[in-house]
């Protein structure tokens, strides 16, 4: 089967002073080539995910999980190696990016759908379905600031899965929803998988990952520690957490 995502010896390098960079500093670097201290967010990562595959990415905070997703999403680009992605990508990399608290649910829905690449016609056809799935109901015309985090997630998620993307990315977002919504999401994701969509999920909830994905990759320090069936990888990762109990990853990656 053709691969949907292919990473060949991919490295992503950040430099220390990226956050505080002054013009004269920049000129000095340009002219004298001041050596800069690199930080590898990803180092020599290679893997292939076939079409219709579902990949779970685990690892402690700062392991490079989010960097990996943003490379797949085409939001940033590798410094070394090649990333190849085939198909339309829709990512929920952060809960409600582009949502504005003062706009209503409906207004945010429309903006978000067009951000994810839906055309006017596609949105018109799917609007009712999106609203229905989100379960927002009467709140649709209320400003988003009156929503709970769970409701915002439902809205964002509902839009994202109705984009009909070939590849879907989820970064630690399902954790906010309640049991009922999680179950509905899982059902929807299974349905999309049967239709052939490819999934990549980052989560610290190993239960969720085991139910959603078949393959797992464990990242640490920007490198692949283990790559294999999801249960095996997730369990190995958790064992390592128990071994280093003090460095347990609880936040976002």
């Amino acid at each position: 089967m053709a691969s949907a995502i292919e990473f060949r010896h991919v490295s992503k390098i950040y430099y220390r002073h990226h956050t505080r960079r002054f013009f004269h500093r920049y000129l000095m670097e340009r002219m004298r080539r001041v050596p800069r201290e690199p930080f590898y967010a990803l180092r020599d990562v290679s893997f292939e995910l076939e079409e219709g595959g579902s990949l779970a990415v685990v690892g402690p905070n700062g392991a490079g999980k989010s960097t990996l997703l943003s490379l797949i999403a085409g939001l940033s680009f590798p410094d070394e190696g090649q990333v190849e992605v085939r198909g339309r990508v829709a990512g929920l990399l952060e809960l409600g990016s582009g949502f504005h608290p003062d706009l209503t649910g409906r207004e945010n829905l429309v903006v978000y759908a067009s951000l994810l690449g839906l055309s006017r016609k596609e949105l018109r056809d799917r609007f009712d379905e999106i609203v229905e799935f989100s379960g927002i109901g009467d709140f649709l015309d209320e400003p988003l600031r009156t929503y709970s985090a769970g409701m915002i997630l439902r809205l964002a998620f509902s839009v994202a899965i109705h984009v009909d993307a070939d590849i879907m990315l989820f970064d630690e977002i399902l954790a906010v929803g309640d049991q009922a919504f999680q179950a509905a999401c899982l059902e929807k994701i299974r349905e999309l998988r049967r239709k052939g969509s490819t999934f990549v999920c980052v989560s610290h909830s190993s239960e969720l990952l085991k139910r959603l994905c078949t393959r797992g990759i464990w990242l640490e320090g920007g490198q692949v520690v283990r790559d294999g069936p999801v249960a095996e990888v997730v369990e190995a990762y958790q064992l390592s957490l128990v071994a280093h109990a003090h460095s347990a990853g609880t936040g976002r990656g």
Binding site: H18, Y26, E94, S97, G98, D102, S114
Partner: protein, 254 residues
């Protein structure tokens, strides 16, 4: 050009920007009118009472012809410049044609511009100037100004991602331009040797053309029109080129 293939997205972003600004404000769009009115009042007071200038009739309308295009330029350029930073979450996390971010912000300001143009035309008619066929040039002239600001903002927003100082450069430039654009003085009193340079400043060119059309019932000279077209088009092309060159690295710096 890629920008234009994303009409639906662009439209939604413009509407979003516009709505966000006016939501929860009791006076809403009125604020768009208040600023030029206040400036017009202040400048009219100064130049009719403090430094009276009898050579200019209807000073209020005269100065509004300068303020409306200048205001749009200054406000749209600053908000265009900071648009990528202000929407960092979007640029970092959502794959959208990134040109749409500064362009939509500038165009959202274009809506305010339209409202202010309406105000200007109302004052022009109120002061007893009639409608004349040269008014047909106005959409082109104002349109070119919008194109010019889009070009500048594409370039400056991209640079602002890497050097946050750009915003302050833009703001200072605007302050300087307030004096170097003939807002409260007329083009006629500019010494001959500087006139050509003035015409290459698109904002000054728009103000001049605007006054010729609205207040003097004259067709804007081609020397102004071609310079305005040239500078606006070049600005847009350079803006797109700068943006395209740097947009791959936006996510790493935001």
């Amino acid at each position: 050009m890629r920008v234009f293939r994303y009409g639906f997205l662009l439209r939604n972003l413009i509407v979003r920007d516009f709505k966000i600004r006016y939501r929860n404000m009791s006076l809403g769009v009125f604020w768009s009118l208040l600023n030029p009115l206040v400036m017009m009042g202040v400048l009219t007071f100064i130049f009719t009472k403090v430094f009276p200038n009898p050579s200019i009739k209807n000073f209020g309308v005269f100065v509004l012809c300068g303020l409306v295009p200048y205001n749009f330029f200054a406000v749209a350029w600053v908000s265009g410049t900071t648009s990528l930073l202000n929407n960092a979450a979007l640029v970092k996390r959502v794959r959208l044609p990134r040109e749409a971010v500064p362009v939509s912000v500038v165009l959202a300001n274009g809506i305010h511009f339209l409202i202010q143009i309406g105000l200007l035309l109302a004052f022009v008619l109120g002061a007893g100037y009639g409608v004349n066929p040269h008014w047909l040039w106005l959409p082109l002239i104002f349109g070119l100004e919008v194109v010019f600001v889009c070009g500048l903002s594409l370039a400056s927003s991209a640079m602002d991602v890497f050097f946050r100082d750009v915003r302050y450069i833009v703001e200072s430039t605007n302050t300087v331009l307030f004096w170097l654009v003939p807002i409260f003085y007329s083009f006629a009193i500019i010494p001959e040797q500087y006139k050509t340079v003035y015409q290459f400043n698109p904002v000054a060119a728009v103000v001049m053309a605007c006054r010729l059309i609205l207040l003097e019932n004259r067709q804007p000279p081609f020397s102004i029109l071609w310079k305005l077209t040239l500078v606006s088009t070049v600005a847009l092309l350079i803006g797109l080129a700068v943006f395209r060159r740097s947009k791959r690295r936006f996510a790493d710096y935001l």
